[in-house]
Symmetry: C3
């Protein structure tokens, strides 16, 4: 049953949660088409329909996988409507998902090529109106992981849905305006301010808090004092050592963050 070349790895990023059967079914469909494929969960805890959260998690994770990996991203409020299904190819990685902007960050890369998924032979024979993860995206991803050529999927298109990026903006010679783009499990506030803007002398304003300078690590902080650190995402984070900065500071995703260099 296992082909001579093992299938590529497949990652899954959805808003399906882990309580229902949805994620297990995706894996069953994949196991049938590409037996032995490693299927790796990025997250299934994206808030229902939250494209921006999925975009953040995808941006944080895909580059750590080997070239050849097939990434399935399903946050799909328009499932069953006329919205297209696409595959994006960039940097040797493949991305499969709805054409609703959830793949906007990878399809704007210089070498990205986007194809519309049209080939019914790569889908399940019956396609529901509500679960294209099962009927379209997982089967297509499994066929690609098993070695089907990407050209089989469908024609190249150049009008896939694009969305604005999360970049911070420079508002003065020494001043940047950004936002909290994610709050992680620990309550750390991940901003869109690149780490190299930070220094021992910079000043960061978020909510009612002012933070002076970037600390070397979480443990360098005194109890309950918010600090800025160079985050693992390449962006500055606001954190409280062994505390929950989001809760203590009362800050949510989208909060404005200002940095003076």
């Amino acid at each position: 049953m296992v082909p001579s070349t093992p299938p590529a790895a497949i990652t899954l990023l959805t808003d399906f949660g882990l309580a229902d059967h949805f994620v297990g079914v995706l894996k069953g469909v994949i196991e049938r088409i590409a037996p032995g494929a490693r299927v790796i969960d990025i997250s299934h805890a994206v808030r229902p329909y939250a494209l921006d959260q999925a975009r953040f998690l995808l941006a944080q994770s895909w580059l750590y996988f080997p070239a050849g990996t097939v990434h399935v991203v399903v946050v799909d409020p328009g499932v069953g409507s006329a919205r297209r299904a696409i595959v994006v190819e960039t940097a040797g990685h493949l991305f499969v998902g709805p054409d609703n902007g959830v793949l906007a960050d990878v399809l704007t890369r210089g070498d990205a090529r986007v194809r519309e998924i049209e080939n019914r032979a790569l889908m399940r024979s019956e396609i529901s109106a509500t679960f294209h993860g099962r009927d379209v995206f997982a089967p297509v991803a499994a066929h690609l992981a098993a070695g089907v050529a990407i050209a089989e999927v469908g024609p190249v298109i150049d009008d896939a849905v694009r969305l604005a990026t999360f970049a911070a903006t420079q508002i003065a010679a020494d001043r940047w305006c950004g936002a909290v783009v994610h709050i992680d499990r620990f309550g750390n506030l991940i901003t869109n301010l690149p780490c190299d803007l930070g220094s021992a002398d910079c000043t960061i304003h978020v909510g009612r808090v002012t933070i002076c300078g970037v600390a070397p690590n979480y443990a360098a902080a005194r109890d309950d004092v918010p600090i800025a650190v160079a985050g693992s995402s390449g962006m500055l984070e606001i954190a409280i050592s062994q505390g929950d900065a989001a809760r203590v500071l009362g800050i949510t995703v989208g909060a404005r963050v200002e940095l003076t260099v």
Copy 2:
């Protein structure tokens, strides 16, 4: 360490949750007996002891896996008591679990054969009173996935526990009475009314809401207006586009749903 024929895939469906060590331990036991086996989680978020919820999730998922798959289902309030352990074989799939009704839907299929698990050589040498997932079900499943013949498990029995099915009932020439049998992550109400009862002209009553006709997909709905759609399970669902129908309508599993064709 890896046998020449790779082991079959194994699925897991339990009420163990993901916070404790239980699921990891099942996978360790399997890895020891059938190294390299793919173990796929269906769900571990079944409410403790909720046989009906496990039955629903199993019915929604097992057919999407390839023949040969071994499905382990452990929702087992009677663990350690005299309740039997069984293996069901149907349609080339194997199901391993307690004989308490959680496998009732597969063991009543026409070609189903049920065996009681008796062979101690396929279990862990010490069997606890509280964790037969680890000591009985996972080891038996791993041996089956690794190629042990099903007849080795124990004798065929014909008196396994059966439970009533979830089918809707016809209450008049043009009228069906069913129920909400599951609420998914998005708050969609999955009923036991088959999709082919629905049409553009049917009327559905649930709670204090009346819905006229079946919509083509979620996105066809106006904001906050409940709709019926043909669900991916083959059953009609009540949904609110990008909303949580269960919460908005105040409806829980078991609620009565009436359909007039």
Copy 3:
């Protein structure tokens, strides 16, 4: 891409949760270094920074895996500070994590050998201040699973951080004093009193409850009556059949438990 000998299995036990990208990224890093490695989650629901909870879950799970397994344990409030990173080898298993006590139970075993992780060639080329799971622990584990000799990691050390064990203490000829060390998904109270202290005649006090004798299994209990059972961990548990003992009794981790034989 797959080496001739398949890589060893790798387990993951962290406080990262499953909502963020963290766990997926660990698996991507591993897939790159050790393609095809089976990566098995023990739990990612350890409360942030809760070393004791991670120690309990590790103690409950690692022995069920085959020799050769590499266990990655990341609960790491001191990430990025001067705390060391270590590998422990015992009973043919390898353990990778921070030197903060989270591995204290395995490194005090008679045959345990501890090495400090020093070899930069086994880490990611850039090491962040906040995510050593990605940059140090997962890469080292993947290299070990792929066959790198443990001596490559770094020098043997003998001063790794040790923490007190959870053992109960004998306070009289016929009396033991222990504690609730874990509450599982079902609300069962897992104590540190070994099962062999229990008998049909013993008496157990916890909170305002007195329990006489150890029951053979959960199902032996009458509704809502707390019982003691021989737990699957080898320790006595307090449970309510099909109920949540922790909630009903109002008991949390750390509560004192007394047993009279």
